[in-house]
């Protein structure tokens, strides 16, 4: 059990409220006073889909101090504070990387293990919506999400009506809720990919860049 859980829970509650209400509300909500997550951040792809590149754009828009590497060597974790695993399987991406799904999961598991040795925080992110759910992506989600300290998912909060398209909902089956509950992991839900900017701003306690 990690020492930051209580602070993470406070951060999660405030982030969930503002992220789902939209950007306008975000501007009116007080940011988390304590910085829950540290920088610099390493953003990586697990599954080699375009989700990680979109996460990079989120980081740029949020003004986050980050390093992006699609599939880095473990050594790139050095001197980082937070690891963001952006989950989503692409057969083309995996093929280009010359790995199969089992190899990808094994590499990502090793990455998380090394991050823990370095006392880093781990965020599991899935921001491509229902478009990036399927057997292979789900293998990644079920294997890696339980290892995280925090979850960011583009999908429905079970307590709030989902008003975006069903294809945009990566949590239609409640998979992320189930994982979050079983492993006591804080979770933030976003309706649009762009809402991830506000989540990052709040999690890392930085000023918005737009």
């Amino acid at each position: 059990m990690y020492r930051r859980n209580l602070r993470l829970l406070v951060a999660a509650l405030s982030v969930m409220v503002f992220a789902f209400a939209g950007a306008a509300l975000a501007q009116e909500t007080e940011p988390v006073e304590e910085e829950a997550f540290g920088t610099p951040v390493l953003i990586v792809s697990v599954g080699q889909s375009a989700g990680a590149q979109q996460a990079k754009v989120l980081a740029i828009k949020a003004g986050l101090d980050y390093v992006f590497e699609q599939r880095p060597d473990l050594s790139l974790l050095e001197e980082k504070q937070t690891l963001i695993l952006v989950m989503g399987a692409s057969s083309k991406g995996l093929g280009a990387a010359g790995v199969d799904i089992e190899g990808e999961i094994a590499w990502a598991t090793d990455l998380v293990a090394r991050a823990r040795e370095l006392e880093m925080t781990v965020i599991a992110m899935h921001i491509e919506g229902g478009s990036r759910r399927g057997p292979t992506s789900d293998q990644i989600i079920t294997a890696l999400t339980p290892l995280a300290d925090y979850i960011v998912v583009k999908g429905a909060n079970p307590d709030i009506e989902w008003t975006e398209s069903e294809e945009a909902n990566a949590n239609a089956d409640g998979l992320f809720d189930t994982i979050a509950a079983e492993h006591e992991i804080a979770i933030a839900y976003i309706a649009k990919t762009l809402d991830g900017v506000g989540v990052l701003i709040d999690l890392f306690g930085i000023e918005a860049t737009e």
């Binding site: 375009a50 590149q53 979109q54 754009v57 491509e128 478009s131 294809e167 990919t193 762009l194």
Partner: protein, 568 residues
């Protein structure tokens, strides 16, 4: 004479009127009808063609409509900046082909290295889609360009729901364009900086504008007007205004051969209709009907026939405007019998180095055989098959070469330009006889094979074709054999596992679904079997086809690429 504003207004009215017919033609993956049929890689393109048939257009009208529509709904695989080949079989007995392949720019020299880059301005060739489709309509259609382009304009202007296949391709484009930050592509497909979700309405206003210009002014605006100037500018002069001015699509005689009494009408050089015809001619020397699609002897014989036909393609099939291709010899029954005699039922011919090239000149006027050069093709292509109730049939294969082509979008006009230049070979002083070296205004050799089959009574029996690069000839041949020799329905023929045999591959590449005993038997014959592909694997193409039996047309959109068929 109408003013430009009046022309624009007429186009707008036509878009509205044609749109009213949209409800008549809902696409599904398998459709039957007696009134006409359109099968393409996207249900909306099939519906566009069916709309035109419902309005009284013929198969050529519908084909042109669907071909323009597919450039909107499948912009990664087909574009105004691409190329294609069309085979037409008319009810009055005329068969023809329209060659609208791209051509190399006029400044290219033998010494230019076309292997790098495969993206950007220096990968491009002068596009042919607009000229080819306009020529087909002018010569063999019954409707105006504005009328048949109305569905495509509507789809671009009003948008359509993003489907899973295009979503995956946009995800790739996002990476190609530095996370969608390309200043031309980004605002079109990633306006908020992110990949749109499946189901989001995708509007392409710039493309709509380009289509409207072509609809009202004809192909001249593309090849001699503002679009030509924009192409020259974005390619930094690699494609020059003069190159575009000079471009023409060409009407050619198709390749016509016979298989088991069926007439096979395919593309002439320099694409793969010759290969398909030669392979079928070779197979006509064997009786496959007692066997089955997965019988190892059947697979072996077909694989060897395809291998021999592909070996002949490299030295003999070139741009017919540059070379006198020995068609008479390549397509003769005697030549096919000679090639068939090389097939050993107990041993596979090793591909590449030892696959014998025939001498078709022995079966025709004297000529000199030429050496082999090899190319690598992109699988990123689209197939359209159309048939009307009068018996006019059209088969089109259209492409950008790679998905998204050169990744160069023409700003303000919303379409990508092809990357066809890499389909030529580099000049090699040790192989002076290579007939596929890039030269000014030459067409690159590729493997597309849109095909029409007539039954022994002379009626259109099948309209077929597929994307899939080097797998195209094999997939087309296997689909034809599955129906004619093995008695499958079109759906079964398309779904049945495919394999690819050609000299460019060291292995016999087999889709998932073949019984292990078949794979083992083929290995025992000496084939190097590569069978680690999925079942219904896109690698083996995406056949969109139509079959006619007892007057009923069945249209099937590709199972491997989520295609659709529609009827009026």
């Amino acid at each position: 004479m109408h003013s430009r504003m009046e022309h624009r207004g007429i186009v707008a009215v036509l878009v509205l009127v044609v749109g009213l017919f949209a409800w008549t033609a809902a696409a599904e993956q398998v459709v039957t009808s007696t009134e006409g049929m359109v099968a393409t890689a996207h249900e909306l393109a099939s519906e566009a063609g069916a709309e035109i048939l419902a309005m009284g257009g013929n198969a050529v009208d519908a084909a042109v409509a669907a071909a323009f529509a597919i450039t909107v709904v499948e912009p990664n695989a087909s574009s105004l900046g691409g190329e294609g080949y069309m085979v037409i079989s008319l009810a009055d007995g005329r068969d023809l082909a329209i060659d609208y392949k791209s051509v190399a720019p006029g400044h290219i020299t033998y010494e230019d290295d076309n292997d790098e880059p495969r993206r950007g301005p220096e990968s491009t060739c002068v596009p042919g889609v607009v000229a080819g489709l306009a020529l087909a309509l002018e010569e063999y259609g019954t409707m105006t360009l504005a009328e048949v382009m109305a569905p495509a304009i509507r789809l671009a202007r009003d948008g359509f729901a993003l489907d899973p296949v295009l979503y995956d391709n946009l995800s790739n484009l996002y990476g190609y364009t530095d996370s969608g930050t390309d200043p031309i592509v980004g605002p079109v497909y990633f306006p908020d900086g992110f990949i749109p979700d499946i189901g989001v309405t995708l509007v392409q206003k710039d493309l709509a504008y380009a289509l409207e210009l072509i609809a009202e002014q004809g192909p001249s605006v593309f090849y001699r007007g503002e679009i030509a100037l924009a192409i020259e500018e974005i390619t930094e002069g690699f494609l020059r205004y003069g190159d575009l001015q000079r471009y023409q699509a060409v009407i050619r005689d198709p390749v016509v051969s016979e298989y088991r009494g069926y007439e096979v009408i395919g593309t002439p050089p320099n694409v793969a209709g010759v290969t398909v015809a030669e392979a079928l001619n070779i197979l006509d020397n064997f009786d496959l009907s007692p066997l089955s699609w997965d019988n190892p002897t059947a697979v072996h014989i077909v694989a060897e026939a395809l291998k021999l036909a592909s070996a002949d393609r490299l030295p003999y099939v070139g741009d017919p405007d540059f070379y006198d291709v020995p068609l008479e010899g390549l397509l003769s029954e005697e030549y096919a019998t000679a090639r068939a005699s090389l097939i050993d039922l107990d041993n596979a011919i090793m591909p590449t180095n030892s696959t014998p090239t025939g001498d078709p000149y022995l079966y025709m006027a004297v000529g000199e055989p030429v050496a082999v050069g090899e190319e690598v093709y992109s699988p990123s292509t689209t197939q359209l098959s159309i048939l009307d109730s009068d018996g006019n049939a059209v088969s089109i294969t259209q492409t950008l070469s790679s998905f998204w082509g050169s990744r160069l979008m023409v700003p303000g006009y919303g379409f990508f330009i092809n990357d066809e230049l890499h389909n030529f070979n580099d000049y090699n002083p040790d192989n002076l006889a290579d007939i596929n070296v890039h030269q000014p205004f030459k067409r690159p050799r590729t493997v597309i094979a849109p095909t029409i089959v007539r039954d022994p009574a002379g009626e259109v029996f099948m309209v077929v074709g597929t994307p899939g690069a080097g797998r195209i000839p094999s997939t087309v041949v296997l689909t034809i054999i599955n129906v004619i020799d093995f008695g499958m329905s079109l759906e079964e023929a398309i779904l049945a596992p495919k394999f690819c045999s050609r000299v460019a591959y060291k292995e016999l590449r087999m889709e998932g679904g073949y019984p292990q005993e078949t794979l083992d038997a083929l290995a025992a014959l000496g084939h190097t079997v590569k069978a680690d592909y999925d079942e219904v694997d896109l690698y083996f193409g995406g056949i969109n086809a139509i079959l006619v039996e007892d007057g009923v047309m069945t249209g099937v959109g590709s199972f491997r690429r989520d295609g659709g068929a529609a009827a009026p």
